[in-house]
């Protein structure tokens, strides 16, 4: 605890402690499905960060793919009924 206080008195570069980083990394770990399925606490910080990058890249790819399909479907899409179904599913 005292080391944290000491570090905060120094200039900006060391204001962020390793504890804080480890904390945030473990929080990220919970969000990523790959790591959640394995036993947690086994993954190192670098592994979690790597998986995070891959996960976000995959999500970007999915958005791209879905928007491709949606654009093809755009003519026949009835936005009102789609909206109704979505809101109904969210309220359930």
């Amino acid at each position: 605890m005292s080391s944290r206080r000491q570090q905060s008195r120094q200039s900006g570069a060391s204001r962020i402690t390793d504890d804080q980083i480890a904390d945030l990394v473990s929080k990220l770990q919970q969000l990523i499905p790959e790591i959640r399925s394995r036993r947690s606490n086994k993954s190192s910080a670098s592994k979690v960060l790597q998986e995070t990058c891959n996960y976000i890249r995959n999500l970007h790819q999915e958005v791209d793919d879905l928007s491709h399909r949606l654009s093809g479907l755009l003519q026949s899409t009835d936005a009102d009924s789609a909206q109704a179904t979505i809101i109904r599913s969210l309220l359930m």
Binding site: V25, E62, S76
Partner: protein
Amino acid sequence: MSSLSQNPKKTLLFSAMKNPNTLKKKLASRFLKAMKKLKYKMSPSPPASIAEKKRRHRAVRAAAYASMASAVGPRRAWSRALLRKMKGRKRARRNPGNMNTRFGLNHLCDIVPGGEAMDSCSLLNETAHYIKCLVAQVQIMREILHSSSSSSTIL
């Protein structure tokens, strides 16, 4: 509800632990509005050329990210960076001293919008929120696809 609006810091904290459904509803309504707009802009006939198909694809994808960024608003650094990019403004200042390489975050700061201007702590926070919003956006787009394909109109 009124106490939340009076204390801005509390509002920030609550929005961080937001009920995922409110976020999803907001995202959904904005995205559907954007899709409606796109639909009216386009010609009613199916796209003739490949270039036209590409243009529509890019328009839908841009609408997805735009509705994400505007639904979250200026509350998050990544949404601010996305909004700035859409409006064509300059990027925010880069991270001076560049502490990101210290923790091996150099790939992450390239992926998360606005990442290069953040310190390591904020970058990890922003990443978590960004992932949540991306997941919600993907779910919404899938639901739209399923609902319109199940109630399929045969052209």
